[in-house]
């Protein structure tokens, strides 16, 4: 469905969508660019009609059939016509675009960003339009859903900021490295994170609920923790370059680069991160058609992608089972507020879960 009328487009442009951020661009520049393109595009659509003004005009000057508010008797004597004032519609020239400027400007689109990427990192960036978008982004932040990155690295070099752009501090040999050694190092590095992940769920690990969730793989961090890696995989190795797939929660770009550096140290060599690309952020993937490139940002595309995310966010978020920390149950009982979390019950079925996410999806 193509939207051609600007005010409906403006109403529909509320929500969350994903954009591809190229490297070398700061988040603020990206936001401004998206804003600018939307403004530029929406001003080309059909605008609302010019406003009309009511003026009292003498009846003779007006044609009674056109633009008159009252039905007057035409059978009045002609000399009265000069003095009888009739309210009429008149175009309000204050409201013309050439006088006021374009109907929409940057202030009419309030943009906010989800978990931000570095200047040097590239990939998926989730943006939210207007207040509704910002609320959804804040709720998504609390859900702690995992993000997937593709990291390209190079062995043999160590730099100041763990990446390719800063000064090289140390060089070392890398010809002893094989795929087997890297997988061994990765499994060992993930062990600490796996245990931390399960402990940060806040549940008592000697309870039956903890066992039940762990056996299904749902034991994920719930209380605020440091960054946690869920999975690290080596996808390709062409010495000295390598590509890793990292899935993590609550991470930052520097954290991932530091992990690459640590992998290099464990292998008795060095490593830098030459490219960092975010490929998945919760439900948004980079290969989706509706993840927009900069050049594709226009009103209709953004409306389509917002619709798409409304559908998938509801379904996949509903699938994820929720559970509580012991502390949050106490807080609920004390505060009796914030009905984002369903009530703890023995048979917490999908009904209670659905109630919580209806709240999210409808907002």
């Amino acid at each position: 469905m193509v939207v051609t009328y600007a005010p409906t487009a403006h109403k529909l442009l509320q929500g969350v969508f994903a954009v591809y951020k190229p490297s070398g661009v700061a988040i603020s520049s990206l936001l401004r660019e998206v804003q600018g393109r939307l403004v530029q595009d929406i001003n080309t659509l059909e605008q609302r009609p010019q406003k009309q003004m009511i003026l009292f005009k003498p009846a003779s000057e007006t044609h009674l059939t056109k633009g008159s508010l009252l039905d007057c008797d035409t059978s009045e004597p002609s000399n009265d016509k000069l003095h009888h004032m009739v309210p009429t519609y008149v175009p309000d020239w204050f409201d013309h675009p050439l006088v006021q400027g374009p109907r929409y400007n940057n202030d009419s689109f309030h943009i906010s960003a989800g978990h931000t990427l570095d200047v040097h990192a590239c990939g998926l960036q989730v943006l939210g339009l207007q207040e509704q978008g910002e609320e959804i982004l804040q709720k998504m932040k609390k859900l702690n859903l995992p993000r997937r990155y593709q990291v390209k690295g190079q062995f043999g070099l160590a730099s100041l900021t763990f990446g390719g752009e800063s000064r090289i501090v140390e060089k070392s040999t890398w010809d002893h490295i094989t795929e087997e050694k890297i997988t061994r190092v990765l499994t060992v590095l993930q062990g600490k994170h796996r245990n931390a992940c399960m402990e940060a769920s806040g549940l008592d690990l000697s309870s039956q609920q903890a066992y039940r969730l762990a056996s299904k793989g749902f034991l994920r961090p719930y209380v605020p923790t440091d960054s946690v890696i869920i999975d690290m995989k080596l996808t390709s190795l062409k010495l000295p370059e390598f590509i890793l797939d990292i899935t993590c929660i609550r991470e930052s770009c520097i954290f991932i680069r530091k992990i690459i550096h640590q992998i290099g140290l464990e292998l008795r060599s060095n490593a830098i991160c030459t490219q960092l690309q975010r490929q998945q952020d919760a439900v948004f993937t980079i290969h989706d058609e509706l993840t927009l490139l900069g050049k594709n940002v226009n009103v209709n595309n953004v409306i389509d992608s917002i619709n798409h995310t409304n559908n998938i966010l509801r379904k996949s978020v509903l699938k994820r089972k929720r559970y509580f920390a012991k502390t949050s149950v106490k807080m609920l009982q004390q505060n009796k507020s914030d009905i984002l979390f369903p009530e703890p019950s023995k048979n917490s079925t999908s009904e209670t879960v659905n109630k919580a996410f209806d709240h999210l999806a409808s907002s």
């Binding site: 000697s206 039956q208 292998l267």
Partner: protein, 468 residues
């Protein structure tokens, strides 16, 4: 400047400076410096370090955790630090501690002591540490007692706090290797390939394979009994120790036992202690056994034909599927539904484990079985979900490769070299970093690729390989 503008336009990036964005002018482009790495002089001149060579061999390591006071861990400075004011004594080692000893190939944990053996042909082949009140680790002359002239030294150390070489009466030490080690409650067996089995320690029930001498004093005893391979129809390939009994598995799959039989541990159908290794009959007649396991009073054996046989104490329901009484005096075939090939069986103090071809672990018995606090008791085997061992959508290849049982603790090693333990955490023997009981498998962080593990009553010894 124009080149950069063209490049940016090619990438379809429109960047606006603050001034122009507010005025809605879409014409300016702000210059951002490219971060592409340029090699400068300083970097070129830097030397290239070589930290490790291509053909470096992987080193094996030993990690220990559990109760330190008995000396079973082999670390003196944990319970008795040199500087007590600065470092407090540590009675429980909750996470794996690196024990510095080279070239160990076989490990075994008993009740408060451990034996480490190397497979080299040196004079010293076996080291032991821990409780030595029954001379289960051999005779080690005590330097504390003063001997008068003419008297023979009869005092041995009762507790060995560090791994000490065990003197064994080899005929020709330079030609034999140690194949297997096993430890029970107060006795230990060391299997060599040419000289037979050396048994030390308590023999009150004949578990060392020699005649019971009434009133024998086992403290500070230097007696090491040798059982040659010729005594069995074919050379012995594996030795297993239960609490007070011993099991010998030969190359042709025959099983021999000796020791205490009150609960039917020897599986010979009699309740008196058996001093000489005797072949097991019952359901094992004519069956080739490939694997045996025992820790306390229950024993399990796995045959060529994918059958499991169990005998011994069934107090906790380990053999409740075949007997209602508290013991099974003869080996009985356990009627489990075996669709896949079973690789390993492990019998613990109160529960038993089973491992099949696809890497699934099944558990039955009593205690903390590993399926949460609600499951305390199972007569028929229950499967432990694979996700607890690291199986997930990201890692579909993970499966368990080896299982071992302790008295109340269980351990499993996966094909990726990760160690998972669960059960009763007595004195930190699970190695998970805390003293809490673990009701489902939890990963032990050693930092190395785990190759072998041995669980005791209140300690655990882990053998691992370095990553590179």
């Amino acid at each position: 400047m124009t080149n950069i503008v063209r490049k940016l336009k090619k990438w379809n990036v429109l960047l606006l400076c603050n001034k122009h964005s507010q005025l809605n002018h879409h014409k300016c482009t702000v210059y951002t410096p490219s971060y592409k790495r340029t090699v400068d002089d300083v970097e070129e001149k830097q030397p290239v370090h070589k930290f490790i060579g291509k053909h470096r061999k992987r080193v094996s390591r030993i990690h220990v955790c559990g109760l330190t006071v008995t000396g079973a861990l082999g670390v003196l400075k944990l319970p008795l630090p040199e500087n007590k004011l600065r470092i407090p004594p540590k009675f429980q080692q909750n996470y794996p501690y690196h024990l510095i000893i080279d070239d160990i190939s076989h490990i075994a944990c008993g009740y408060g002591f451990s034996i480490l053996a190397s497979k080299l042909k040196d004079q010293i082949k076996v080291w032991g540490c821990g409780i030595n009140t029954n001379s289960q680790i051999g005779f080690h002359k005590s330097r504390k007692t003063k001997i008068k002239k003419g008297e023979t030294h009869t005092k041995s150390y009762q507790y060995l706090m560090e791994p000490t070489p065990i003197p064994l009466p080899f005929k020709d030490a330079g030609k034999t290797r140690v194949i297997d080690v096993a430890c029970g409650r107060a006795h230990s067996l060391i299997l060599t390939d040419k000289e037979g089995i050396f048994a030390m320690g308590n023999n009150a029930f004949g578990q060392c394979g020699r005649q019971i001498i009434e009133g024998e004093v086992y403290e500070s005893s230097a007696k090491v009994h040798r059982i040659p391979h010729e005594r069995f129809p074919s050379p012995v390939v594996k030795v297993v120790c239960g609490m007070d009994h011993s099991l010998f598995l030969t190359q042709t799959g025959e099983l021999f036992s000796c020791g205490w039989s009150a609960d039917g541990q020897t599986g010979l159908g009699i309740a008196e202690p058996v001093p000489e290794p005797t072949q097991l009959r019952g359901d094992l007649d004519g069956v080739k056994i490939t694997q045996v396991s025992s820790f306390a009073d229950t024993s399990l054996a796995l045959s060529d034909t994918n059958d499991i046989f169990g005998w011994g104490s069934s107090e906790y329901g380990q053999l409740a599927c075949v007997t209602e009484s508290t013991q099974a005096m003869l080996p009985t075939k356990l009627p489990f539904d075996r669709q896949k090939k079973i690789i390993q069986v492990a019998a613990g103090g109160t529960a038993c484990l089973l491992l099949n071809e696809s890497g699934d672990v099944w558990v039955w018995g009593y205690g903390i079985l590993g399926k949460g606090p609600n499951l305390e008791n199972a007569v028929w085997p229950r499967r432990i979900p694979r996700t607890l061992f690291g199986f997930s959508q990201f890692k579909p290849d993970i499966h368990v490769k080896q299982i071992k049982c302790g008295l109340g603790s269980f351990s499993a090693i996966t094909n990726t070299g990760e160690l998972y333990t669960w059960g009763k955490n007595k004195s930190g023997c699970l190695g998970i970093g805390s003293a809490r009981d673990q009701y489902f498998p939890w990963k032990v962080l050693t930092g190395f690729e785990v190759v072998d593990v041995s669980c005791g009553v209140d300690h655990m010894v882990v053998k691992s390989k370095s990553l590179l």
